[in-house]
């Protein structure tokens, strides 16, 4: 596992030096603007507006990083041939892959934690003191992070066997399909045969269910999040990531680097 850690630490260093964390400036400006605006116009809905806006921004910014940098994690190394010298060392390909994944998840964790701190600061500026139920924002942030980790794994899988452009399209497509997977499961269409309905249901179960990680609405309204839901989402993300990364490792382990 030492090799995995070495690759992960370097991936994190790359993100920092390539100024990936500069998006935090944009987030800070957004939160400051929202806090000032909400303070002037809203009546007793400051918390809902700030938390909704903050969590949505954390999710969207994270999504962009997870998809675009996630796809580039392997494809950029192949294109620039930076991994030639590395893979000739006593390093297994799966270790490289896992290290890249862990490095980007580390980056997203730091980024998301910093944005969460910004969200709390904005919330405090419109409503203080903060109350204990505000701690649920952290739960929502944690679930967003799980979702982002899953997206990174998918982006890496696609980038192992297709072009970066197609990998971005596939990852984005799976994300959209995963968000609406619930609808696919419960869809009642009059002109579909039972076999087609079964197929749609099977696809909906195979797709990652990103709704498992969405508690933004409840948290924005100050409601709690059950521990069982958090546990279930954690297990789901861990298993799904493991399966997707194993598939990526299988593809990458026999890939010819031209």
């Amino acid at each position: 596992m030492k090799n995995v850690w070495v690759v992960a630490a370097n991936t994190f260093r790359e993100a920092v030096r390539d100024r990936v964390l500069y998006n935090l400036v944009f987030f800070a400006l957004l939160m400051m603007g929202a806090a000032i605006l909400v303070g002037q116009i809203s009546i007793d809905i400051e918390q809902t507006v700030i938390v909704s806006l903050g969590l949505t921004a954390i999710s969207v910014i994270g999504l962009f990083i997870a998809v675009f940098i996630g796809v580039g994690l392997v494809s950029k190394e192949m294109e620039k041939r930076t991994l030639y010298a590395l893979l000739a060392k006593p390093v297994e390909r799966w270790q490289f892959l896992l290290g890249k994944f862990a490095g980007l998840v580390m980056t997203l964790t730091v980024n998301t934690a910093a944005m969460a701190a910004g969200l709390y600061a904005a919330l405090w500026s419109v409503k203080h003191p903060l109350v204990s139920s505000d701690a649920y924002i952290l739960v929502a942030v944690y679930l967003i992070l799980l979702k982002l980790a899953l997206i990174v794994a998918l982006a890496m899988l696609f980038s192992c066997f297709t072009t970066p452009f197609l990998a971005i399209l596939f990852t984005a497509g799976i994300y959209v399909a995963g968000v609406y997977g619930g609808e696919l499961r419960t869809m009642q269409a009059v002109n579909l045969t039972p076999a087609t309905m079964k197929m749609f249901r099977a696809i909906s179960y195979a797709l990652p269910n990103f709704e498992n990680f969405n508690v933004m609405g409840a948290v924005a309204h100050g409601r709690g999040v059950p521990g069982a839901l958090v546990g279930h989402a954690t297990l789901y993300a861990a298993l799904y990531c493991a399966v997707v990364l194993a598939a990526a490792a299988m593809v990458f382990s026999r890939k010819n680097l031209k």
Partner: protein, 286 residues
Amino acid sequence: MKVETGEVFGFLGPNGAGKSTTIKLLMRLIFPSAGTARILGKSIDEVSVHREIGYLPEQPYFYDYLTAAEVLDYFARFHGLKANDRQERVARMLKKVGLETARKIQLRKYSKGMLQRVGLAQAILHDPQVVVLDEPMSGLDPLGRRELRDIILELKRDGKTVMFSTHILSDAEMLCDRVGVIVGGKLRGVGTPGEMVGIQTQGMEILFEAGAEGKTPPLAARATKTGERYRVKLPEEELYAALDELKLAGARILSVSQIKPTLEDFFMNLVEADRAQANAVEVSGK
């Protein structure tokens, strides 16, 4: 093809012959459709054998956000070296490849030749038994080429096995105990550079000037004149007669050398022989 322990082996061939492909196979970067390869007696698929291998890729490219010292430290970590050891080795390697003063500059500001030096440093950083260099002279200036030659000879003195690919015959002649020649993806011969080139000798060349009395020797009629100097090419068996003639005319002999084939001649012969053989097979097939 077998490379013996402790020898410097040159892997020669024109562009596109399959040199880099072979090396990439050995480094597990691509996979063979058939056949096997072993290094130090172990299958190349065994990760442990790669602890004893140093590899310089063709036109190496490293993380450009790192400095030379950082990139070497990064690679050293995969060999399980302790922090103090890493620090000491990195400093020693940077000195060896002449990058001491540029150690804190990010690689994005490095020239091609400097990247080649970083590549060489990372290949020998962990003191490997086998060093594989893909076109190591590429991108280096004359000074860099000379330093690289010294490093290869030093590795040989230390008992390391060095295999490097090149399409520059003079490099191979100067450094290699043996060479292997590959053309069109097929190994066409293995032997010492002398064996490879000697067979192909194309005669002798004499460089001379007219004597002090200004008497022009008859040989000058066959020569090419550049300034005051005459250069004449002739078959090896005519050499002594020509030298006697020049001596008699009081000419000043500046040099006598064997005409070796140029790289182009050397490979063109092989390529043409290859084509001729292919055509013969095609005709007999009809």
